[in-house]
Amino acid sequence: METIKIYLENMFGRLPETTETQRLKEDLLTTMEDKYNELKSEGKSENEAIGVVISEFGNIDELIQELGIEMEKPEKAVTEREAKVTELTHVLTEEEVGKYIQDSKRYNLCTAIGVFLCILSPISPIFTIAKFGENRGMIGFVVTLFLVAIAVGLFIYGGVSQEKYQYLRQECLELPKQLEIKLRKGQEAFRSKYISALISGVLLCIISPIPLLMWGIRDMEYLSRGISGIRSVCISLAIAAVAVFILVYFGTAKERYSLLLQTGEYTIERKQRNKKTQKLTESIGAVYWPVVVAIYLFWSFTRDAWSSSWLIWPIAGVLFAAISGIIQAIKGKDE
């Protein structure tokens, strides 16, 4: 009996698993089993019975041919739907993906270095003031500004160059099978690297205040001597800078994989939802921000409240984030 099942299973191996083929397989099995049972009850041996059943099975091609005509219709519907999807889907080529990975590696490094420099930049005035007195402090500030300028340059370079890959974030992507497998393997291999980077980044963040705290615990007289306290500030900042560099660099590398493989933040559903909410958020923003500016100017001029009116900016910023959050929640529910 098992032999018949296996035989049938093998015969149907080439066929797609649809409800139709499934049902057909079941029906055929029942019929073949009926025949087998009857042959057995007629006194045939198991081998003989199986032999007869299998010899009278026929040719599976005959069924495939019949089903082929049957299945043509649903298949057409599927390909039509697929065609509709592909119109909106961006099919990536190996070349394109390779270029994106190369580019984004460079830009992400730029961003990470930029952040690193920003965090390090206060070291120079602190150091120069402590070492050479407040008069020379200006030199330190110049260095700071110089570092920040480089960082901003790097941010802009990275941001503008990434802009041409904006479609990767918004459109539905389709990867060639082989490329997808390659990327998945890459993602898998990257995961352990990412976890160790995340752990070391977070650990460094946590320990970064330690030099400062140690200095705080010790005699306050160090403050007057300056340099030791200053050194601890500098070391703390340097540790924090390295930590953030690691987090940014590996974080963006991880994002690169989820962007290309459309996982995490970048699943097709999310993209489609974002597309809908984005327009609404944009049009609200177009009204919202000018109103905020008007309130800011009105408040500041009429009350001469320049010293406190800036508070409107962080409040407005957080409030806008809340508004777009609500829009997304409501729109998401509509789905």
């Binding site: 057909l24 019929t31 099975f57």
Partner: protein
């Protein structure tokens, strides 16, 4: 034994004939064909089921589930009105075919 090539065009007719009086299921039909043909024609399983598929697609037969017996749920088939008129057409076609082919068959050749 009859070659399946020769009889191919009349597999549907044979099945419809067996459904004329009562609904039936796969094995019963297959057994019935063997019996009525006195063992001269054994319809292969794949032939039987591709005929069922085709006939059902053309709405000449309808399938339904019979009662569960011995833990098995059998698919039964019943002939439709369209199936009955198709059957009559096929019968007429066969009469004509037989008449024509007979004219070219010499009796007593063997």
């Amino acid at each position: 034994m009859i070659s399946s090539d020769v009889i191919r065009g009349y597999n549907d007719t044979i099945i419809l004939y067996l459904l004329l009086d009562n609904p039936s299921y796969g094995y019963e039909i297959s057994k019935e064909i063997k019996k009525l043909s006195e063992g001269k024609y054994i319809m292969k399983e794949t032939t039987l089921y591709s005929a069922f598929t085709r006939l059902e697609k053309n709405k000449y037969i309808e399938s339904f589930y019979g009662e569960v017996t011995q833990g098995k749920r059998r698919t039964y088939y019943r002939i439709t009105d369209a199936g009955q008129s198709y059957y009559r057409e096929k019968c007429e076609e066969w009469m004509l075919t037989k008449e024509v082919v007979d004219k070219f068959v010499k009796e007593g050749v063997l």
